[in-house]
């Protein structure tokens, strides 16, 4: 469950420009697509929802926890357990293999290691033969799938994806969206996708336009 009320944010060095975001009320296991052109604060909203940025006003409730009321340490812990982030660019720990990256993400969630889920996930994403490869040895497509795996490996309550399809062709765009929706369904998570990519629109019933 995600609920935001009167959410506002301002960056210190932007002449006090205030980002005002519409309220979101998303029941458990539901998806939402947040669309908007560049510069309207899509990534800012995503980072607010992930607890990476503190809001100037308004409240964010995720799984009945008000993020604004959590201490820094509690927020880190909460993020580790309940938020799954998928970025536009792929980020990994370069010194580790694909499998080690996934295990590391799982460990930081402080949840019980679910080997079955991990194996299933690796199989679903077609990464079975690449488990012991260093991440820099993977192709872009494989890295994109690993990025999705890292966002869902710990079965988060909320999956937040930032422009996951912007660099992909039409075929791969559909594949990635399908994968995200499928994994969100398996993990019983809310899926929030922010994008300016209009191709994605048709795959979601629930939209917010910034």
């Amino acid at each position: 469950m995600i609920r935001t009320t009167s959410l506002r944010f301002t960056y210190q060095n932007t002449n006090n420009h205030i980002f005002c975001f519409p309220d979101i009320d998303l029941p458990p296991k539901k998806d939402i697509l947040i669309l908007g052109p560049s510069g309207v604060g899509k990534t800012t909203l995503l980072h607010l929802l992930a607890g990476l940025l503190p809001s100037k006003a308004g409240d964010i409730f995720i799984a009945n926890n008000c993020l604004n009321r959590l201490t820094r340490r509690q927020l880190d812990y909460f993020r580790g357990q309940h938020i799954g982030l998928i970025f536009q660019k792929t980020y990994f720990i370069k010194s580790l293999t694909l499998l080690e990256n996934l295990t590391l993400r799982e460990r930081f969630s402080k949840k019980k290691i679910d080997r079955y889920h991990k194996e299933e996930l690796i199989m679903h994403l077609g990464l079975s033969d690449l488990q012991n490869k260093k991440v820099y040895q993977l192709s872009e497509g494989q890295q994109q799938r690993l990025s999705i795996a890292l966002g869902v490996i710990h079965k988060p309550k909320v999956i937040l994806a930032d422009e996951p399809t912007s660099n992909l062709d039409d075929g791969n765009c559909i594949k990635v969206i399908s994968l995200l929706k499928k994994e969100a369904q398996i993990c019983k998570s809310n899926l929030v996708i922010i994008t300016h990519d209009q191709r994605v629109k048709s795959h979601f019933n629930n939209h917010i336009i910034l």
Binding site: T43, G80, I93, E100, L104, S109
Partner: protein, 413 residues
């Protein structure tokens, strides 16, 4: 976290290797110098401990101590046994042991002395019996091992103290009657016999020289230790003296040096003087080790700062995984700790291996054996200081992590 720190380090092998190499070098140098100094001190002390004073021919007092007590230099000359014994009758003297030498077997000194000399070094027999008659010898454990000599073996000595002496005493072979247990003192590397053996071997030698003199019309008597016809006085190389109280050594040495043709040297004083000279060298090497250590610390610091900067996005990613700032600092700390522990441990072992090589060299030249020993308190202090230095470098390197803006770092990449 430990595994991640390890993987991060081995993913940049060159940087890691450079930091470890520098640390290793400084630690090995520092521990090597410490060990040489400690073990040399220990060796010298245990060898000079039984005696308060050495009486010998005039010359350098340090040379007298080195030759008569530590057996690593040439003697200053000979003294009259009778005159030396007269001085030793002083009531301040508790014990006195005459020593005489002038020959060697394959570079090993043959020392003529009394059984008390062995008692002073707490030497006991491993097999066989002590020498009783002239030309009977007991050998130190090191000698037995080095030349594979056994009880009952015989050998002929060469004249002088240098190995491969051209002049050998073939007519008077020595027989080994006993082998001593290891004592970790100079005794382990000596061949010991009674004084009469030394006198007799040279008595005979002098006769041969006399014949040569008749034939060749010239004679160069290199033996200071010559035996003489009956009625002539016997000579010894030196007299080792133990006093009833330490004041005796001071009083007697002043008298001997001022009033006689002999000289008295105090081993403890001379060795302290020697160590004082060596100390300058040790301090210089220590200084170099500290300088390398500082460079190593700086290298680790630069390495860590570079790592933190280059891995800023990875560290931000870990924050999105739920890691807090403390955990990121812990990761940098672990990397630093890993570097310092590995560098210090390998450096310590390298220091010990250097001691081993040094021991092989010094044992050949000076008959000193350096042993493998566990870390000393000083070495542990160095280890702790090294770890603290690298951890300090880690603290400085991880200061920027407090200000890490995860959102900006992820968004800007």
């Amino acid at each position: 976290m430990l595994y991640l720190a390890y993987k991060n380090l081995i993913s940049k092998p060159l940087n890691t290797l450079l930091s470890i190499l520098l640390l290793m070098l400084s630690i090995s140098l520092a521990t090597f110098v410490l060990q040489v100094r400690n073990q040399l001190n220990h060796h010298l002390e245990s060898n000079i401990k039984p005696f308060d004073m050495v009486i010998g021919a005039k010359g350098s007092p340090l040379q007298l101590v080195l030759s008569s007590v530590l057996h690593i230099d040439n003697p200053t000359g000979n003294i009259s046994l009778e005159k030396a014994m007269r001085i030793a009758k002083n009531p301040l003297v508790k014990e006195m042991i005459p020593v005489s030498y002038g020959d060697n077997y394959k570079g090993i000194r043959i020392l003529g002395t009394t059984h008390e000399y062995l008692t002073k070094y707490k030497a006991s027999l491993q097999e066989g019996r002590l020498y009783e008659k002239p030309f009977e010898v007991v050998i130190g454990s090191g000698v037995s091992k080095k030349d594979n000599l056994q009880v009952g073996d015989t050998f002929v000595s060469s004249h002088g103290l240098a190995e491969n002496g051209l002049e050998t005493h073939n007519e008077k072979p020595f027989i080994i009657t006993g082998i001593l247990k290891p004592t970790s003192t100079i005794i382990d590397h000596l061949i010991i016999t009674n004084l009469e053996s030394i006198w007799e071997v040279h008595e005979h030698n002098d006769e041969s020289h006399h014949h040569e003199e008749v034939h060749k019309g010239e004679h160069v008597d290199e033996h200071s230790n010559h035996a003489v016809e009956s009625g002539e006085e016997r000579e010894i190389t030196s007299l080792l003296v133990k006093f009833r109280n330490p004041l005796g050594a001071l009083q007697m040495s002043r008298f001997i040096n001022d009033e006689t043709t002999m000289q008295a040297a105090l081993p403890k004083f001379e060795i302290e003087r020697l160590m004082g000279f060596l100390g300058i060298g040790f301090q210089t090497i220590n200084g170099i080790a500290i300088a390398i250590l500082l460079v190593a610390g700086l290298s680790i610091f630069i390495n860590l700062i570079k790592n933190v900067r280059e891995r800023k996005q990875e560290l931000a990613l870990l924050r999105t995984y739920g890691a807090n700032t403390f955990q990121l600092i812990k990761l940098v700390f672990l990397e630093a700790l890993f570097l310092s522990l590995l560098g210090a441990t390998v450096g310590w072992f390298l220091g010990r291996i250097s001691i081993w090589f040094f021991s092989i060299f010094i044992e050949d030249v000076y008959s000193y054996h350096f042993v493998f020993s566990l870390p000393t308190t000083k070495e542990l202090i160095i280890l702790v200081l090294v770890i603290l230095t690298t951890l300090m470098a880690a603290v400085l390197a991880s200061l920027s992590l407090y200000k890490l803006n995860v959102s900006k770092t992820i968004a800007d990449a």
